[in-house]
C-alpha cells in the first residue's frame, strides 16, 4: 500500500480514500481465494446457493464504484462503495454486506481522511445499519460476526487510534465469532459447519488487515482457512434431514431505481405480506429488494410502478431444494459406521474431511487428545458403530479407553501417522460391516510408508547419528534416517531410504510454518530426482512437522 498520508505527532496515521479502496481490494482478493470453501459451507434452506460467490460479486461491484469515485476523499470513496455494494448485492449475505458498507459510508461522511478510531466507529455503524435492514435478524450469521467484530474494534480504539491494532482486534473477534456460530444457529450445528456469510466477512477483513501490515507474501502464497467450530463438527448426516413439506416459492431479487424519490420503509411495508425473508435496503435513489414469494409477478408489478428494475434474479427454491435433497440423498452413505480421526493442522483436517471422515478431534504429536475428547466425538456422531483413526502412536492408548466408556461399538484402527490414516480411510467401504472395515483399514496401513521431518528439541545421539538442537531430523516409519540443517534436504535424504525409487506416488504435506515456495522447490527437486514418480504437494498446516510425506 501507499504510505498513509498525514502522519501526526502521536504516530497515528490518517488514511485516505485510496487506502480504503486498497484495503478492501486486498480483502476481496483474499476472499476470492476462499470462495469455494465458503460455498461449501452452505446450508439449505437459506437460498444463498453460493454464498462465497455472492459475496465476491458484491465486493467486485463495491470496488468498481470505489475506483470510479473521482478523488481520494475518504467519505466520497466510502459513499461510492456503499452504492456499488447496493447495486451489486447478491443473496442474503451480499445484501447484509451492502448494509455494512452503507453504515460505514454514513460513519465516514464528511471525512477527507480517517483514523483507526473513525474506522471502528464507522464499522460499528455498519453493523447497526445491517441489523436494522432485517425484519427478523438471525443470530449466528454474518450479522453476529459483524457486531462482535465491530464491538471489539471499538474497544480497541479506546486504547489507541492506530488502525492496525484496531483491525487486529476486529479480525480476531470476527474469527472467534465465526467459530461460535454453530452454537447460535441450530441449522449450522446440524449441518456441522460454521456460517458461510460470517466466514466471508472474516476473510474479507483478514485480507484487509494483511494488506495494512504489508504481509504481501502471506497473501500471495497463503490461503484463507475456514474457521473451525468451537463445538465438535459432525459431518452432514442426511438421514436426519426431514423432508420439508411446505413449498418455498421463488427467491426474487432486484434493484429498483426510482422514478421519483423512493421511500424504502414504505416499500418494505407494502411488500411485507407478499412473502418471507423480506429485505428492503437502500436510499431515495436506489433500493435493493430481496423476498421469498409465491408470486414474483405481483412484487415486480408493484415495483415497476415505482421505478426501473435492474439486476432481476428469480429462482425457484423448490427446484433448488429438490436438487439439494436429491444430491444429499445420493451422497448419503448407506453405512451405519462413522469414522473419527485425530488430526492436527487445518490443511490435514480438510484432507480427512474431503475423504469423508465423520468427525475430527484436533490433536497429534505434542497435543494428545484426552479420552474424554475422543469419547465426545464418538458420542456426537449419529451412528452407533464408530471407527477411530488415531494417526499417532501416542494417541492409541487413550483411544482404546473409549471402547469401555460408551455403549456404541467402537473399533480403533491404530494408525501411527497421518499417511497411514489417509490410507486407512481410503480403504473404508460403505457396504461392509464394522469388523470387515476395521480389518481392511488395518491392512491398508502397510501399503504406505511415512516420512516425517521435524526439528530436534535437544541435542542427542541416536545410534551413530549425532544431532544438534534445532537440527532437522527425518524419520521413515518412526525410525531416524536423516539429519541436516535444511528440512527439505532431510526429507530428500529420508525419501531415499524409504524406497521411493520403487514407488509410484509421493504426497508431501507441508506444515504450518513451512513456506509454500520452499515446499514447491522441494517438490520440483523430488520430481527431477524420480522422474517416474507422481508427486503431489498438499498444505497440511500441521504444527512442529515441516514435512510429512507418504510414499506409496
Amino acid at each position: 500500500m501507499q504510505e498513509p498520508q498525514g502522519e501526526n505527532g502521536s504516530g497515528t496515521a490518517a488514511y485516505s480514500g485510496q487506502d480504503l479502496r486498497e484495503m478492501f481490494t486486498a480483502g476481496t482478493a483474499w476472499l476470492e481465494k476462499s470462495v469455494p470453501d465458503i460455498n461449501a459451507l452452505n446450508v439449505f434452506p437459506v437460498p444463498d446457493g453460493d454464498c462465497g460467490t455472492n459475496m465476491l460479486l458484491t465486493m467486485r461491484s463495491t470496488l468498481e464504484e470505489a475506483y470510479r469515485a473521482p478523488d481520494s476523499n475518504a467519505g466520497a470513496v466510502a459513499q461510492a462503495m456503499a452504492r456499488g455494494a447496493l447495486m451489486g448485492a447478491r443473496g442474503n449475505s451480499g445484501v447484509i454486506l451492502s448494509q455494512i458498507f452503507r453504515g460505514l459510508a454514513q460513519g465516514l461522511e464528511g471525512h477527507d481522511s480517517f483514523s483507526g478510531k473513525d474506522f471502528a466507529t464507522a464499522f460499528a455503524r455498519g453493523s447497526t445499519v445491517a441489523y436494522k435492514a432485517l425484519t427478523r435478524p438471525v443470530e449466528g450469521t454474518i450479522l453476529t460476526v459483524a457486531r462482535d467484530a465491530s464491538s471489539a474494534g471499538r474497544d480497541a480504539s479506546s486504547k489507541g487510534d492506530d488502525l492496525v491494532p484496531i483491525m487486529e482486534a476486529t479480525v480476531a473477534a470476527a474469527r472467534e465469532s465465526v467459530a461460535k456460530t454453530p452454537t447460535l444457529l441450530p441449522t449450522l450445528k446440524q449441518a456441522g459447519v460454521v456460517d458461510a456469510g460470517g466466514q466471508g466477512l472474516y476473510v474479507l477483513f483478514e485480507g484487509a488487515l494483511q494488506h495494512l501490515k504489508g504481509e504481501t507474501e502471506a497473501m500471495q502464497n497463503g490461503r484463507p482457512q475456514v474457521v473451525p467450530s468451537v463445538i465438535p463438527l459432525v459431518a452432514k448426516f442426511p438421514q436426519l434431514m426431514t423432508e420439508k413439506e411446505e413449498p418455498f416459492g421463488y427467491c426474487t431479487e432486484f434493484v429498483l431505481q426510482g422514478h421519483k424519490k423512493l421511500a424504502p420503509d414504505k416499500i418494505k411495508k407494502s411488500l411485507t405480506n407478499d412473502g418471507q425473508c423480506l429485505i428492503v435496503v437502500g436510499d431515495e435513489d436506489l433500493v435493493h429488494i430481496h423476498i421469498h414469494t409465491f408470486d414474483p409477478g405481483k412484487v415486480l408489478r408493484h415495483a415497476t410502478t415505482l421505478g426501473i428494475l435492474h439486476e432481476i434474479k428469480i429462482q425457484n427454491m423448490d427446484d433448488q431444494h429438490k436438487e439439494y435433497t436429491e444430491m444429499v440423498k445420493a451422497q448419503a452413505p448407506p453405512a451405519e459406521i462413522a469414522t473419527v480421526a485425530i488430526v492436527s493442522g487445518d490443511g490435514l483436517g480438510q484432507v480427512f474431511r474431503s475423504l469423508g471422515v465423520s468427525a475430527i478431534v484436533p490433536g497429534g504429536q505434542t497435543m494428545n487428545p484426552s479420552t474424554r475428547e475422543m469419547l465426545q466425538a464418538v458420542e456426537a456422531v449419529p451412528q452407533d458403530k464408530v471407527i477411530i483413526l488415531t494417526n499417532n502412536a501416542n494417541v492409541i492408548p487413550a483411544a482404546k479407553q473409549v471402547k469401555g466408556l460408551t455403549s456404541k461399538k467402537v473399533r480403533v484402527v491404530p494408525t501411527e501417522t497421518v499417511p497411514q490414516g489417509v490410507a486407512a480411510l481410503l480403504a473404508f467401504n460403505y457396504d461392509a460391516d464394522l469388523k470387515t472395515n476395521a480389518a481392511a483399514m488395518n491392512d491398508a496401513v502397510s501399503s504406505v510408508k511415512t516420512v516425517e521431518v521435524t526439528r530436534a528439541v535437544r541435542p542427542a545421539k541416536i545410534g551413530n547419528i549425532k544431532i544438534v538442537r534445532r537440527q532437522a531430523i527425518g524419520f521413515v516409519d518412526g525410525e531416524l534416517k536423516a539429519v541436516g540443517d535444511k528440512p527439505a534436504q532431510v526429507l530428500l535424504e529420508a525419501l531415499q531410504s524409504a524406497g521411493t525409487e520403487k514407488s509410484e506416488i509421493v504426497t508431501v504435506y507441508y506444515g504450518k510454518t513451512t513456506k509454500r515456495s520452499e515446499a514447491e522447490a522441494l517438490v520440483e527437486e523430488i520430481r527431477q530426482k524420480y522422474p517416474n514418480l507422481e508427486v503431489e504437494l498438499v498444505y497440511g498446516g500441521q504444527p512442529h512437522y515441516d514435512y510429512i510425506a507418504s510414499v506409496e
Binding site: 444430491m327 445420493a330 448419503a332 448407506p334 474431503s354 469423508g356 481410503l426 504426497t507 506409496e552
Partner: protein
C-alpha cells in the same frame, strides 16, 4: 435367422459387429451446436481429441425413432425376427424410443426390445452372446431367455481420472460420495443393474488396476470379459495382461469407450466388463 440390433453405447468393436452381423444404431453426440452421429460422423479418436481440447462440454442423446425405424426396416428385408438390446433405461431414452419404433416396420416383422440395464461392453458382451446364438440358428425365444438371464449379471468396473464428467451429465448417483477429495485419488465406480455404485478410491493407478482385476475375479462363472479404455491405451494393455493371467484361455475383448459413454466418463479411464455365468 434372428437379427440383433443395439445402440452405439454398447462399444462393440466394428470388426466384431461385422463378423456377428450386429446392427449398431448410433447415439448422438453434441458439442455446442455441432451434432454428430457417434462413431459415424465423429470417430472415437477425433472425439477424444475434441473432448480434451474443446471448451464446450459435450452431451449425448438417444437415437431418434426414425433411426431405429430405418435400421429395423432394412433388416426386415432379410428377416422376420429382430431382437433389439439397448443401453440401460436409467441412463437414456434409447430403449423407450426403440420400443416405439418396434411396432412400425414397413414390412411385417417381429421386433422385440430389451432394456439391458447396463452399458458399454457390459451391454456389448450381452449383445455378442445373443448374436452368437443367432448365428447358431437359435430361436428368438431361446435368445431372449439367454439375454434376460445374462444382462442382470453384466458388470462394468471403471477406474476414473475424475468424476466431474459423470456429475455434469447427471449420472453420478451414489458415486458422488467419492468426490471432493483434496488429495489425488482414482475413484473406482461400478455399474450394476442400471445403477452407478461407488466402489472405492485408490491413490495409485497401478493399485487401481489391481482393484479392477480383483473385482473381475470376484464375479462368479465369468463367461465374457472385455477391457475398455478411453485415451489410456497403455493402462488398458497392462490391465489386459493382468486379466489374461487371471483368466487363462479366455477370450478377452479389447474396446474403447465410444463417445456416447465417454461423454460421461471423461478421458483417461480404463475399465473391465464381465458377464457372470
Amino acid at each position: 435367422m434372428v437379427r440383433i440390433v443395439t445402440d452405439s453405447a454398447s462399444d462393440i468393436p466394428a470388426e466384431v459387429a461385422q463378423e456377428l452381423r450386429i446392427s449398431i444404431v448410433p447415439m448422438y453426440v453434441r458439442f455446442g451446436s455441432d451434432v454428430y452421429r457417434d462413431g459415424v460422423d465423429l470417430k472415437t479418436d477425433e472425439f477424444y481429441r475434441k473432448l480434451i481440447a474443446s471448451q464446450t462440454v459435450p452431451t449425448t442423446s438417444s437415437p431418434k425413432m426414425k433411426d431405429f425405424s430405418e435400421a429395423y426396416d432394412k433388416l426386415a428385408e432379410e428377416t422376420g425376427e429382430i431382437l433389439s438390446i439397448h443401453l440401460s433405461s436409467t441412463f437414456s431414452s434409447a430403449y423407450e424410443t426403440a420400443v416405439r419404433a418396434s411396432g412400425r416396420t414397413k414390412k411385417e416383422c417381429h421386433v422385440e426390445v430389451i432394456d439391458s440395464r447396463t452399458a458399454a461392453m457390459g451391454l456389448g458382451l450381452v449383445v455378442i452372446a445373443a448374436a452368437k446364438q443367432a448365428q447358431e440358428g437359435q430361436s428368438m425365444q431361446q435368445i431372449i431367455k439367454t439375454v434376460r438371464k445374462a444382462a442382470p449379471k453384466a458388470r462394468v468396473y471403471v477406474c476414473f481420472e475424475t468424476l466431474e464428467y459423470l456429475k455434469r451429465g447427471g449420472r453420478i448417483g451414489k458415486a458422488e460420495s467419492l468426490m471432493g477429495s483434496s488429495i489425488r485419488v482414482h475413484p473406482i465406480i461400478g455399474l450394476e443393474n442400471g445403477e452407478v455404485k461407488p466402489l472405492g478410491r485408490e491413490r495409485s493407478r497401478s493399485r487401481a488396476l489391481d482393484r479392477l482385476c480383483m473385482l473381475a475375479e470376484e464375479s462368479a462363472g465369468v463367461s465374457g470379459i472385455a477391457v475398455e479404455q478411453g485415451a489410456a491405451p497403455n493402462e488398458a494393455d497392462k490391465l489386459y495382461a493382468k486379466l489374461a493371467a487371471i483368466f487363462p484361455g479366455k477370450d478377452i475383448y479389447s474396446s474403447v469407450f465410444g463417445s456416447a459413454v465417454a461423454v460421461h466418463t471423461g478421458p483417461r479411464v480404463v475399465g473391465v466388463c464381465v458377464l457372470g455365468g
